[in-house]
């Protein structure tokens, strides 16, 4: 116990100001525009406990990626795609939605805690809406009692 405390005091002081990552966001680069809103590590500037990974289309997101996020200790994982009906590649967001709902192969594993999985459909100009949704997801996952 003593050893760990000493270690955390000694470890590079200024860099460790960032909070631990609570949410992993897999975000389509054509949906909500985040390019200028991330730090060098891909954390959201407005909420550094959110780690964003940009992908070309939400259709590339495998349910496995979201399961991996939770398995490695994230409190929640969300995917963001364009508005349903407006996928740049025609059907990516629709297919991901169906995978997460268990209607299309490969499906999200039924054992995954669905409270910790979210998907948002937003256009490039809807950052304010994105922030609100992330905030409410943050409060949802933090209210889930640890099992």
């Amino acid at each position: 116990m003593m050893a760990t405390e000493t270690l955390s005091v000694n470890a590079a002081p200024p860099a460790e100001a960032l909070p631990p990552i609570r949410l992993i966001g897999l975000v389509c680069e054509r949906s909500v525009e985040l390019e200028d809103r991330l730090n060098a590590d891909g954390r959201l500037l407005d909420d550094p406990s959110v780690k964003i990974i940009l992908v070309p289309c939400s259709g590339i997101i495998q349910p496995l990626m979201m399961e991996t996020s939770l398995k490695n200790g994230a409190q929640g994982c969300f995917a963001t795609g364009c508005r349903i009906g407006d996928c740049h590649y025609r059907e990516g967001n629709k297919f991901l939605q169906e995978r997460l709902l268990g209607q299309r192969m490969p499906k999200l594993k039924p054992t995954v805690d669905k409270r910790r999985i979210e998907a948002y459909w937003l256009s490039a100009v809807e950052y304010d809406e994105f922030r609100e949704l992330i905030e409410s997801f943050q409060s949802t996952v933090s209210s889930i009692p640890a099992s």
Binding site: K51, P56, G59, L64, T68, S69, F95, R99, M105, P106
Partner: protein, 387 residues
């Protein structure tokens, strides 16, 4: 580096859609069915056009009288004609929305070149269908429109006289402009080109796996309701009969701005050569457009890891551009088929990666193993901290 397309998309197209989403909801936003709605108007035009054809007589001496009967006497004649007329405008309006939207959302080039080129051809022939439709009415406006159109056709260098003769059956010697066959020829074009459009639509959909050809029922009802409202609020009328020598005074002419703008310019005294240049600039300009932008995805396409592919067809089913085929394999694998990517069709979008449960397909710009590694790296050493 922002292109003009991106700038317009973010400043105009997306804010407009945001408003439309609030009004119609995301599910019934007409801007998300910009390609399906012209089809809806096309069906309305086919149906009402068939009904109009029951009473229409395509001869010089009886065309006007039959239009008068349709407009003022035949049961529901005026309603059918009004719907036919406004559906034509509705189709052109949604085709224009379709065109501008695919342009300003950057969905018109590279792997989408076939829908774009066939779309230009469809757009051009739609223009001809509308134009001949307005001529068939054969009242004073329609005759003036026909006269101006014939003059425009004849003014075309070298082939002008022949073109007018072929399209509208004018006398090749040039003595009389309108002949007994003129209306027949218009009707042939007005009915024949839509049949050609069915073939062109097949071409338009060729590279698209699941084209959205129909809007949801609620949106269909909304559009049909709107069409009926306009047709009821402003029912079509028939203009005066043209004089027997077909010399209509140009002053009192009203033409449709969507279909007959070249003729309007001609009536306003513009130079015929300038009008032709403007008319030809539309399809030629649209054709050149995709080649003005630098290719974004040169040489990139999805790659199959043959050792991992089980031949399950999930990527083949999900590919929106028919870029994947399943081929028989005889490389000693215990699986019977192998997914194979056609680079010409591939959009490099990664939908096949999302469909694959066996790590057997990837796109170079975003490999699934890299995404998984990034997740693991970001969360490394803090799994207990979040609990």
């Amino acid at each position: 580096m922002t292109t003009y397309v991106e700038a317009i998309q973010k400043s105009l197209v997306l804010p407009l859609e945001k408003v439309a989403n609030k009004v119609f909801t995301q599910k019934y936003n007409p801007l998300y069915y910009h390609g399906a709605l012209p089809n809806l108007f096309l069906w309305a035009l086919f149906l009402t056009g068939l009904l109009l054809l029951v009473y229409y007589q395509a001869t010089l001496s009886t065309a006007y009288a039959s239009m008068k009967y349709i407009t003022y006497q035949a049961p529901f004649g005026n309603a059918i004609r009004s719907i036919h007329r406004y559906a034509a405008d509705g189709m052109m309006i949604f085709v224009l929305i379709h065109l501008f939207r695919v342009w300003f959302t950057d969905r018109y080039r590279e792997y989408r070149i076939i829908p774009w080129i066939s779309g230009i051809v469809l757009f051009t022939v739609l223009f001809l269908v509308g134009l001949t439709g307005y001529m068939l009415i054969w009242d004073q406006d329609a005759v003036a429109l026909t006269n101006v159109t014939i003059n425009l056709l004849r003014s075309f260098p070298v082939i002008g006289t022949g073109l007018a003769g072929f399209m509208l059956a004018t006398d090749l010697s040039g003595s009389s402009l309108i002949t007994d066959y003129t209306i027949t020829r218009m009707l042939v074009l007005h009915l024949g080109i839509p049949l050609l459009m069915m073939f062109l639509l097949w071409w338009h959909y060729l590279r698209i796996t699941r084209p959205v050809t129909d809007a949801p029922l609620a949106l269909v009802l909304m559009m049909v309701g709107g069409l009926l409202l306009v047709a009821g609020a402003a029912p079509v009328v028939l203009g005066d009969m043209a004089p027997p020598d077909f010399a209509v005074v140009a002053k009192s002419i009203h033409l449709d701005g969507l279909y007959a703008w070249p003729q309007q310019l001609a009536l306003a005294g513009w130079n015929m050569g300038v009008i032709w240049l403007m008319v030809l600039a539309v399809p030629v300009g649209l054709f050149v457009l995709p080649y003005l932008q630098k290719k974004a995805l040169r040489g990139q396409f999805a790659r199959v890891v043959a050792d991992n592919c089980t031949g399950c067809s999930l990527c083949y089913n999900d590919c929106p551009y028919e870029a994947i085929t399943m081929v028989d394999r005889n490389d000693g694998s215990r699986f019977k088929r192998l997914a194979t990517v056609n680079p010409e069709h591939c959009a490099n979008c990664g939908l096949c990666v999302g469909a694959c449960a066996f790590k057997a397909i990837d796109i170079p710009r975003c490999e699934s193993k890299d995404v998984l590694a990034e997740i693991e790296a970001a969360l490394a050493g803090q799994s207990l901290a979040s609990a």
